[in-house]
């Protein structure tokens, strides 16, 4: 091979390797994106069936119950407008509390219960997970609109 051919074949090889790497990375990336939904979106059926996603909101006060095994818990996640029942088997994080914000990751069962594989509550008492905060804000904005319309319609 002449030096010129050598250089070209080297560049070609390099580009091919980079191309493969890029394809690999993007493919993995695409199949591992976890989307976030609010309880309202879940209740309205906007979520993809059978796919893992995150849901955020407030853990409604007085809804936390524990099964006899001491591990399986049921609670209701709400954004003050819509409510989604959640079940989780495992140990809840330290800062998980009724009346506080939380984020759960998992799938929606056919009965409409959210089966969480992971529950996140973050590191600080005053901290509201941004997803949860946004869900509440959105619901509030939407609620305001609907109450406005309520005033007009009758």
């Amino acid at each position: 091979m002449t030096p010129r051919q050598k250089r070209f074949s080297m560049i070609g090889l390099g580009l091919a390797a980079l191309g493969i790497a890029a394809a690999l990375v993007l493919n993995a990336f695409n199949s591992n994106l976890v989307f976030f939904f609010t309880p309202t979106q879940v209740a309205n059926g906007e979520v993809p069936k059978g796919q893992s996603f995150r849901i955020g909101g407030m853990v409604e006060a007085g809804t936390l119950t524990r099964e006899n095994d001491g591990l399986t818990v049921h609670f209701v996640m709400s954004d003050t407008v819509k409510r989604v029942p959640v079940t989780y088997k495992g140990i809840l994080p330290d800062l998980f509390k009724e009346g506080k914000g939380a984020v759960a990751q998992g799938r929606l069962s056919s009965e409409g219960t959210f089966v969480a594989s992971e529950v996140l509550a973050k590191h600080d008492e005053n901290y509201m997970p941004p997803e949860a905060a946004e869900a509440m804000a959105k619901a509030k904005a939407a609620g305001k609109q609907s109450s406005d319309t309520l005033v007009v319609t009758p």
Binding site: A17, N32, D69, G70, I91, K122, H123, D124, P129, P130
Partner: protein, 663 residues
């Protein structure tokens, strides 16, 4: 009074930094030696000024001066002294002060260990570092002042976040910052070389030890952070691909690539342009990491600032540093030239491939970290990128890199031959493949990933053995010991660091393959068996700590009826912030960790409990430490010591005449 002195010292440091960032560089351009000579005293002066500021903040914490806002927000009268001092870097303002302090520390080191550098080069290096520190001082003094007063003073402080009240807090941030900021030296060397237009092998030789030291610190810093998360967060994981972890891992990947590319530039004069780019990249990623972690863009235990002015400042600063250095690069790099050519199969080519793989890995981490932020910033919805993404990307990218890692040290520079390499490595290859296939069966479980992990680790170890054996065979010398001793330390350093990777891989493979985990409800007196160990729960008692109250569980652990240990996991409630914390109990060992953490109290003294048996997990951090030790060994190499001694001698000789000629 004391905080005002600190503030004043910072203002003075800012003025000195402004001088240091301009005068010496101008002096280097105009060839004015007296202007260049300003760099050294300015850098040292800045170091002492920032040191004073740092001590003032430390004093305010030690004295519980709650009239300082930062102290009031991050300490409490009941917080023990060592945590009060660690609280200096417990939040945003103080950690920036630590950043700046470490930057001036590195500057000081440059003034001490740069006798062998030409005056103009040193002036440019210190000038560039002065500009970086100018940016950080300006940031602190305008929007993030650690000395801001709180009047009237708070009666008591809000206390340090309980998660941070841990020995890890004392060590992890300074180590990590030593690494982050250490890349500023490599960056300054690269920019200085671009400014001066003299990118020769000497430049690479000078910046090599600096880069290696920074890399060692970063390696240890990341390992400490990972270990801390492992025992403190109470979930037993050691790496979560959390954006904050990624922020420290990206400079590490770029720095690793830089170390290898510097080797080529030093030995063969090749890769010059690429090396400079990597130096810029490594430091830019360190800055980006600081930005991501400290600006509040990411929400995690590391993020504090929510002030948008701060985010904007850092963003502008980032744009100036990265944009400016890349512009300079685009302008000056084409004159550098390419350096020696090499064949498609040669050590250079393999190092190039390793570099490309590391950079692609870095880019994939960057994508996974920044993409959700972009989407969010553009209002296109909230997503998160899960750990599976990083796992699926890293295994295929690192496998070829590790394969090359075994061959590289054995391949000749410039042109190597494949058949020759194959002959030399056939035993290493055969042994590792056979063992890797059989070992999981012996351990009782076979999966492709297990075998792959063992294969990679064994491949590194066996090829290292072959490399050392060949190296010794070529050496003249009487006994084996003499020959071993005559191998340069930098070579041993490389071998050791590579073996550290092997140890790390063994740890990861064993943990992923054989760990057992159980969440369960345990009544008092009940027993559970995991990984061959029986854990008997003896109940939980109340316990009072200095600034918290706790429930402390007692677990008696036995194996085959023999007493192993008693473990005391705690559930703490910190009084000042009314925050609950899980304090896991861990029994560490060479070959396994036992890990117990308390979940929630249930009725009648029962608790929900999490039990783990984690084989070989300590090898993960052990491997990182071995890597760092390899780096340390490499920089104690004879050639650096010689260069250093020669420089001291020539300086002593120059000091002899009554009037040294001024050039």
């Amino acid at each position: 009074m004391i905080p005002e002195i600190g503030q004043f010292a910072l203002i003075l440091a800012l003025c000195v930094a402004a001088v240091q960032g301009t005068v010496p560089i101008y002096g280097a351009v105009s060839g004015n030696a007296s202007l260049m000579a300003v760099a050294k005293p300015a850098a040292r002066g800045q170091f002492f000024l920032v040191l004073i500021a740092f001590c003032c903040l430390g004093y305010a914490f030690a004295q519980k001066d709650f009239s300082v806002l930062y102290v009031a927000a991050n300490a409490n009268s009941k917080l023990p002294l060592h945590y009060r001092l660690a609280a200096i870097w417990g939040a945003h303002e103080g950690s920036l002060l630590l950043w700046t302090f470490i930057l001036t520390l590195w500057m000081m080191a440059v003034t001490l260990f740069s006798k062998h550098l030409p005056e103009a080069m040193r002036a440019r290096i210190l000038g560039v570092m002065g500009l970086v520190s100018l940016g950080f001082l300006l940031f602190m003094l305008t929007v993030s002042n650690p000395f801001e007063r709180l009047i009237p003073a708070a009666p008591d402080g809000r206390d340090l976040n309980p998660l941070l009240q841990d020995p890890g807090m004392v060590m992890h941030p300074p180590m990590l910052y030593m690494g982050y900021v250490g890349f500023s030296v490599a960056f300054a060397f690269a920019i200085a070389a671009l400014l001066g237009g003299n990118l020769d092998a000497a430049w690479a030789r000078w910046s090599r030890p600096w880069t290696t030291v920074a890399w060692c610190f970063l390696t240890v810093g990341i390992a400490l952070g990972s270990g801390w998360a492992y025992y403190e967060l109470g979930w037993g994981g050691w790496w979560f691909w959390d954006p904050v972890e990624n922020a420290s891992f990206m400079p590490w990947l770029a720095g690793t690539a830089l170390i290898h590319s510097l080797a080529v530039t030093d030995k063969r004069g090749g890769f010059k342009v690429w090396t400079v780019l990597l130096a810029i990249l490594a430091f830019s990623l360190s800055l980006l990491g600081t930005f991501l972690v400290r600006s509040g863009v990411l929400t995690s235990v590391h993020a504090f600032a929510t002030d948008p002015k701060r985010g904007l400042f850092i963003l502008i600063f980032l744009a100036i540093v990265i944009g400016g250095s890349l512009l300079l690069y685009a302008w000056r790099a084409p004159r550098v030239g390419l350096g020696g050519g090499f064949d498609m199969v040669s050590r250079e080519a393999m190092l190039l491939a390793n570099n490309v793989l590391l950079v692609v890995a870095m880019a994939s981490v960057l994508l996974g970290t920044l993409y959700p932020l972009f989407l969010d910033a553009l209002g296109l919805g909230k997503i998160s990128v899960g750990p599976p993404y990083f796992d699926t990307v890293f295994v295929p990218l690192m496998t070829p890199a590790i394969f090359l890692m075994g061959i590289g040290p054995l391949a000749q520079w410039k042109k190597a031959s494949v058949p020759n390499l194959a002959v030399r490595l056939r035993w290493a290859f055969g042994t590792s493949v056979a063992t890797a296939l059989l070992l999981p069966l012996v351990l009782g479980k076979w999966t492709p990933l297990l075998s792959l992990g063992f294969l990679l680790a064994l491949w590194i170890a066996t090829t290292a053995a072959v490399a050392v054996r060949e190296r010794i065979a070529h050496l003249e010398g009487a006994g084996l010991m003499a020959r071993l001793a005559s191998v340069p330390r930098s070579y041993w350093g490389m071998i050791l660091a590579h073996c550290g990777i092997a140890v790390f891989i063994v740890g990861v493979t064993m943990v992923k393959g054989f760990e057992t985990e159980q969440d369960l409800r345990m009544n008092v007196g009940e027993s559970a068996t995991i990984g061959g160990y029986a854990f008997q729960f003896e109940g939980a008692q109340d316990f009072v700590g200095p600034n918290y109250i706790a429930a402390r569980g007692v677990f008696r652990v036995t194996k085959d009826g023999r007493e192993v240990t008693t473990m005391y996991p705690e559930k703490r409630r910190y009084l000042a912030q009314r925050q609950t914390m899980t304090e896991a109990a861990i029994d560490s060992g060479m070959f396994r960790d036992l890990y117990v953490s308390l979940g929630e109290p249930l009725e009648a003294g029962a608790w929900s409990v999490r039990l783990y048996h984690k084989p070989f997990i300590d090898w993960i951090w052990g491997g990182c430490l071995i890597m760092a030790m390899g780096g340390v060994l490499a920089i104690t190499d004879r050639r650096y010591r010689l260069a250093w001694r020669r420089a001291s001698e020539s300086e002593a000789a120059a000091a002899q005449p009554v009037e040294a000629p001024i050039l």
